[in-house]
Symmetry: C2
Amino acid sequence: MTINDQDMSLAFRQAMRSFAGNVSVITVGEGEERSGLVATSTVSLSVEPAMMLVCVNRSASSWPLFARYRHFGVNALRPDQKPIAERFSGKGGVKGADRYALGKWRAGETGAPLLQGAAVAIDCAIEDMIEWTTHSILIGRVRSVEIGDASAALVYWQGDYRPLVAENLGFSSV
Amino acid sequence: MTINDQDMSLAFRQAMRSFAGNVSVITVGEGEERSGLVATSTVSLSVEPAMMLVCVNRSASSWPLFARYRHFGVNALRPDQKPIAERFSGKGGVKGADRYALGKWRAGETGAPLLQGAAVAIDCAIEDMIEWTTHSILIGRVRSVEIGDASAALVYWQGDYRPLVAENLGFSSV
């Protein structure tokens, strides 16, 4: 990597701080082999068929599990679930199944852990993993969708978790 | 597609309403051959190297231009730029270069149109287009990054454009 590439990466990292991202816990594995991570870049790839896309760093401790279990859960958090996001971000060095200590979890049809009380919980079967330099692009077919209380969302923006609440924001008047 | 698939797509579409997405105009082309679309699913694929990922419906009128020009611009909008988002969403049947009637645009290094005054404007050279049923996954290498006034973002959530403003939200206290 040249110095210019380093400068570009720095500027890019800075720019990405200004992109608001919906906070989800991406889950994988079963029993004591469960792990997971926090993502703010979960994308709907297509609606018909219902497919999701998530980019996962190959250095993530949970990365090997995606290839082994061929599933992932997408758990979009509510603002009061911020502690769960922090736990899955590895705060305090918590790893693997210990990340599941907060919240109630059940296994979806694919086996992927789903959070009870999430704004939205989506169970996906991996159809493809595309390797791209440092990351894997996971492509998952939606096997089930559970919509909870989605009146508020947890977003990450400008370096902090923030609540997005319909009452606070009202409808956009600009 | 079976009835079950249709039900799944319907539930999935409903679930995606609860995912807040940062609103960006994705641009492509030059001169009279410019077009573009609104996306709420622009993802940072990797930081080193700086790469972006966007999923584009192959039925979008601007889709053929991505293959031809091998570039795209990502223009993250501010709340006061909501009319630009609406224009690029095809409101009123506006197509192609006519979508550029609002705002001041300049061509980036790759030729992709960049919006002056955007919260963030990123110029990308396409390195790969991965076809996936109804969509193409565009993978772009970041060529330039311009950060504007990013004190507010425009997000799409629960079926409407909404402003995300640091002053309104404060820091998350949950």
